[in-house]
Each structure stands twice: as structure tokens, then as C-alpha cells.
Symmetry: none
Subunit: 366 residues, 2 copies
């Protein structure tokens, strides 16, 4: 679509400069050039069938800003993550959701992580409700169950209000915490709340694939290593770069049609049926935290695409696929802009600061 | 090179102002002055043969940004430091590493220091694992050993992933903590991980020189006082400013060929064989924390120089020496730029903000 769109615009622009008379050899050469150029572009557009038109999808998915709408209608996101060790990752995911245009962004984390995450930004609503083993290991099994029930109750009372969860940024690998999180996934599924799984959430899911199996509102966003482990576990083989698209489709199908966004030089996205790629050039900086921006962004765009689905005139494509394409495209554009400004010293916070400008560039608010 | 370059520029500037006629006595005196001035500069340039071409080394050592590389390949640094009393120093060292271009920067500090260091920046991964005496003094000797083993286990499980450690910024002088840190040094040596020792880490090393003796991947970055104590302890004499280069060479040789960066008006660097100096003008501001920028920077450039060493076409010089020269040159340039902008109110954070621009100026990212 992007390429086709580019061709149409390109053709319009090129031909509009041509004089009305077409007798001169200069003009014939120009017309030949236009035809040759457009022809090759169309061929390229047709051959790269899997490349998504991310900008066009961003424009389609992003809701217009209507003064009649009230707080919450542009998205309520919750990040499940943040423990004693990690606090940056859930912050990056949650603040990215707001910077794209969500109305409310919550974080559910451990008691140790909460004051730190709160200190990063007063914009976030941070719930210090998760528990790690070191804090409850002296309790009896029964008391530990009581603690778990309390944690689940604290999260579940909010569940129905959320449009999407992001499960995993900075979660850590504490067994007690991960057990709670696996039950939070069950609660989300029960309430039909979509969720994006990243980071340590993927560690959990890879070891207990049933947690997401056949849930069409689950999105997994593995990086190189996380993808490798998923392929080994689910397909019982190694990553096959020669048949990357087919393998991704098989993997998503094998997990019952969840959507997988495989991060890489090009991002590849599949729900077990179609495969799309996003290859817009981003940035050569690989500072940690960019995956957290992506997971927070997928949550917002997925929510918006879900809202769109209720409109009978909207595109019929899977909201999870649309959300992944939009998020991947926007992150790449923002990373590119941040790199132009900050070069080698580009940090994840710099990219987050460019999300708004990048989205505005593609899809102006007014 | 820099001085030579300065001479050429100086000569050009001075002579360009001379009138074409050269008959007047005023002009003869001017020409004499030019010759005398340039002559003395050339002599100085030739005698200070050890001045390193820091900018050229920065260009050689800094890797090109390749979109095919993935997270971590541009450097994973860890700072061991940060206690109840000091939190700024480890932050400065760790964030400087990221601002220069490392992908991941960790801090291992005490439980009290962690929330504060985390709150400075979500970009850092901060592990609250070190322990101070006040927290464990009521424990039995056996339990104290268990605590120490736990601390070492927490650090060691990450060790192999790091390209370089920075040991010392904001470490404090608690005996229990320093004992743990001395064992962390042994673990680093066992895994062949290079480390930069600064601040209280130098206090530890000066009293237990065996910790670094003959480890070619150790870099010490003493300031005036820390250098004085090292010389007294190792060479059993006072600092000799008249023979500063020879004395530094002897000191580094005596510690088995570790690399020492002696900070001062000019930074002097030796591994017991060669001696190099970096004299680029920095800033007259002496606000605390600049040494932390330097130690974090040495860690990054040393890692990059180590990667370069694997390339058969790379310069054969010692990566620790190259890392020290590059870090010293960049800090001086950034300090100079920050001083131009902020004058007397220049703080360490302002210098850190100038690291990216300074590196970009010397070695453009694209």
C-alpha cells in the first residue's frame, strides 16, 4: 500500500510538471522515464507482498481527537512488571503508551519498585501490589496462598477497565511472582482483555505455552534470543533464517493463532495465517529499552484497532496484526528521528521523546 | 600531532597578517618574533614525544554503527559502587558509558543506594546486592560468610556478560563491602573481564596491590592524592614531578604491567613500557564527579579497543592504553564544550550532556 501510494503520489507529482504539448523529444524521454520508474515501482510493490504499509495503517488506526470524548476513551493500558531489580523497563512501556496518546497508563509492580517507578513520572498510576519470594519465603504455604490471592484480587478489580495489558517488562524471574503473573494472564483471558507479552513474560510463556495457546488477543514480541527459545520449545527445531516467514507462520499457528511480532532488522508479524514485515529504517543504536517502547506501543495501537473493529466500515484485518504493524512503524520512525538528533548518545528516553513528533508527522492531530 | 597542528595553524595566522613589504624595522621585529615563537613551539612539540593523538585514536577505536548488530554488541558495562553515603558517582560512571554509545549499563550497589540511583535514570539496570557492615554486624561469622557468598553469587551470575567493569565509584570504605569487592575482582580476573579501578576501589587496591598485580586487563585511574598513596606504597618514595613519566612507567611496571592513567593538568598513561600524555585543554572547573565520567568512558573505549584487537588489520597497541587515551581526550573535549556553555556553573551532568556532541564532532556517526 505504501509503495502503491508512493507510486500514485510520485506519478501525480511527476506528470503535473509536464507541459500540455507532448511533441518534443525531451518530453518523450520524460514520459518514458515516468513509465519506466512507475513500472519498476509497481513490480517491486507486487513482489514484496509481505511488506506492510505501516504509515497508512498508522493513519487508519489512530483515532481522530474529538473534544466530545472523555478521559479513558483513547485507551487505558496497564503494564505488569517492575521488581526489585528492574524499574526502567515498565516505565518505558507505560510512558510510551501515554506519549502515543493513551489516556491512562497503570503499572502493577512490586513494593520495592513502585516508589522508583513513581519517581520517574507523575503521569503514571503505579500499584505496589506484586510480591517476590524473598518477601514471603518465611510464610507458611497457606499464608503464601493468601498473599497470592490478595495480589490477584488487587489486579483483578481493575481488569475490566483496561483496554490492553503489557505483561513482562522488568518482571524478573522470581518463581512466586511469575506464578502470580501466570494467574493474571488467566484473569485477563477470562475478561477478554488483550495482552502483549515481552521480556520475562516471554520466559514464563515459553515454559508454559498453554498460558497463551489459542488466545487470539495475545501478542508475543520476542527479540532474537527469545524467538530462538520459542522456536526450540514449540517447533522443536532451530531458527531457519532462509524460511523465516514460513517458520514464523508455523510457530504462530502452532500456538493456536496468537500474534507474534519477531523483532529484528525487519520486524516480522504473523498470526499463523498472514505474515507481514515492517522494514522502515530505524536507527543503528541498540541501547536497551527499545523493546519496552514497542510493547507499550503495540498495546495502544491494538486497543485503537479493536475500537475501530466495531465500526462496520473499518478494515477487516486482525487488530493485533494492525497494532503490531503500527507500533513497529512508529518506533522505527521515532528511533530514526532521535538518532538524527542525538547520534551515538541516543538513549531510549530520547526515542520516547520523539514518539509524538513522529506520529504527528504521519498522522497530524488536526 | 595536536601541538604540531597548533604550530602550523599559529604560523599561518601570524604570517597572514604581515604586509607584503618587509623593509621596516617593525616588520623585521615581527618576523623575528614569529620565528622565535614557532621555533620554541616546535622544540616543545618534539620534546613532548609522548603526547598521544587522542582524536585520531578516538576515530580508530569507536566502532561504526551497523544496523545488523544487535543489542549488547556495542558494549555491556557494569559499575561496582554506590553505598548508603554515595550515589552520584556510580550514576555518573554508568550513564557516561551509555551516552558514549554502550548498549547496556549496570550498577551493583547496596540496597540503600539502589532506589536513589535507579531514580536518576530509567536507562540503568541497578542491582541492590552489596551489603555494608551495619546491616550484617549482628550476624554470626558463619552467617556473614553466607551473606558474602550470596553477594558474590549475585554478581558472578552476570560476570561473563560484561565487557568491562568499573570498580570503585561511590564504593565507600566499609570493611565488609570492600572484602566483597576484593573477591569480585578475583571473579573478574577468573573470567578475564577487564576492570577500571577508581575512587575507593583505589583505596582497596593500594592496600592490597596483589588484587591487580600482573593483571594486564586492569586499569587504575588515580587522581593526585590517590597517585601519591600508590607511589608511597608501591615505590616506597614520594612523587617526583621532575621525572613524572619515568616514575609512572616504574610504578606500572612494578605492579606487573597494569595500565595507570594518572589524572592531572595533563593526563599521563603508562603500562610499564610506553608512556603517553593527553594535554588537550579541558575546563578550569573542578566540580566533583569528572573522574567518574572518565572511569565509565575508559570502560567503554577499552571494550571497543578489545573488539578491535580481534581484527588483524587493527592497531597493535594495548587496548587499555588506547581506551585511556580515547577517554581522556573525549572527557577533555566535553568539559571544554560544557564550560563554554555554562562557565562557572558547569556541573558534571553538563559535561555528560556534552559527551555525545563531542564524540560526534571528532567521529561522526554517519
Amino acid at each position: 500500500m505504501l509503495v502503491k501510494h508512493g507510486v500514485v503520489i510520485g506519478l501525480g507529482r511527476l506528470t503535473s510538471h509536464l507541459p500540455s504539448s507532448s511533441s518534443s523529444s525531451v518530453l518523450r524521454r520524460q514520459q518514458f522515464l515516468v513509465r519506466a520508474l512507475c513500472g519498476s515501482q509497481i513490480i517491486r510493490a507486487m513482489s514484496s507482498t509481505s511488506e506492510a504499509d505501516a504509515e497508512s495503517i498508522l493513519r487508519t488506526v489512530t483515532p481522530s481527537l474529538d473534544p466530545k470524548r472523555h478521559k479513558g476513551q483513547a485507551g487505558k493500558i496497564a503494564v505488569i512488571g517492575g521488581c526489585r531489580e528492574y524499574t526502567g523497563a515498565p516505565y518505558f512501556a507505560a510512558i510510551s503508551a501515554l506519549k502515543i496518546g493513551a489516556d491512562l497508563s497503570h503499572v502493577f509492580c512490586t513494593k520495592d519498585a513502585a516508589p522508583v517507578i513513581k519517581s520517574y513520572s507523575p503521569e503514571l498510576i503505579v500499584h505496589p501490589v506484586l510480591e517476590e519470594s524473598y518477601n514471603i519465603s518465611q510464610l507458611s504455604e497457606e499464608d503464601q496462598r493468601t498473599v497470592q490471592d490478595k495480589v490477584l484480587g488487587e489486579v483483578n478489580k481493575w481488569m475490566e477497565r483496561f483496554d490492553c495489558l503489557v505483561i513482562g517488562p522488568g518482571l524478573g524471574r522470581d518463581p512466586f511472582l511469575l506464578e502470580c503473573v501466570s494467574k493474571i494472564m488467566l484473569l485477563a483471558k477470562k475478561s477478554n482483555v488483550p495482552f502483549v507479552v515481552d521480556g520475562d513474560g516471554l520466559f514464563l510463556v515459553t515454559n508454559s505455552i498453554d498460558l497463551v495457546n489459542s488466545y487470539p488477543l495475545a501478542v508475543l514480541t520476542p527479540n532474537v534470543n527469545e524467538y530462538k527459545r520459542l522456536v526450540q520449545k514449540v517447533l522443536n527445531c532451530e531458527v531457519d533464517e532462509q524460511n523465516a516467514e514460513d517458520q514464523l507462520r508455523s510457530l504462530a499457528k502452532q500456538i493456536g493463532g496468537v500474534t507474534i511480532l519477531r523483532k529484528g532488522k525487519s520486524d516480522l508479524i504473523s498470526n499463523g495465517e498472514i505474515v507481514k514485515s515492517v522494514s522502515i529504517y530505524g536507527s543503528p543504536r541498540r541501547c536497551g529499552g527499545q523493546g519496552d517502547i514497542l510493547s507499550g506501543s503495540v498495546a495502544v495501537f491494538l486497543s485503537w484497532a479493536q475500537q475501530l473493529k466495531q465500526d462496520p466500515e473499518s478494515p477487516s484485518e486482525n487488530p493485533a496484526i494492525l497494532g503490531c504493524i503500527a507500533a513497529s512503524g512508529l518506533l522505527r520512525k521515532a528511533a530514526s528521528l532521535a538518532f538524527t538528533k542525538h547520534k551515538r548518545s541516543t538513549l531510549t528516553s530520547d526515542i520516547i521523546e520523539c514518539l509524538g513528533e513522529s506520529l504527528e508527522d504521519i498522522c497530524p492531530a488536526s
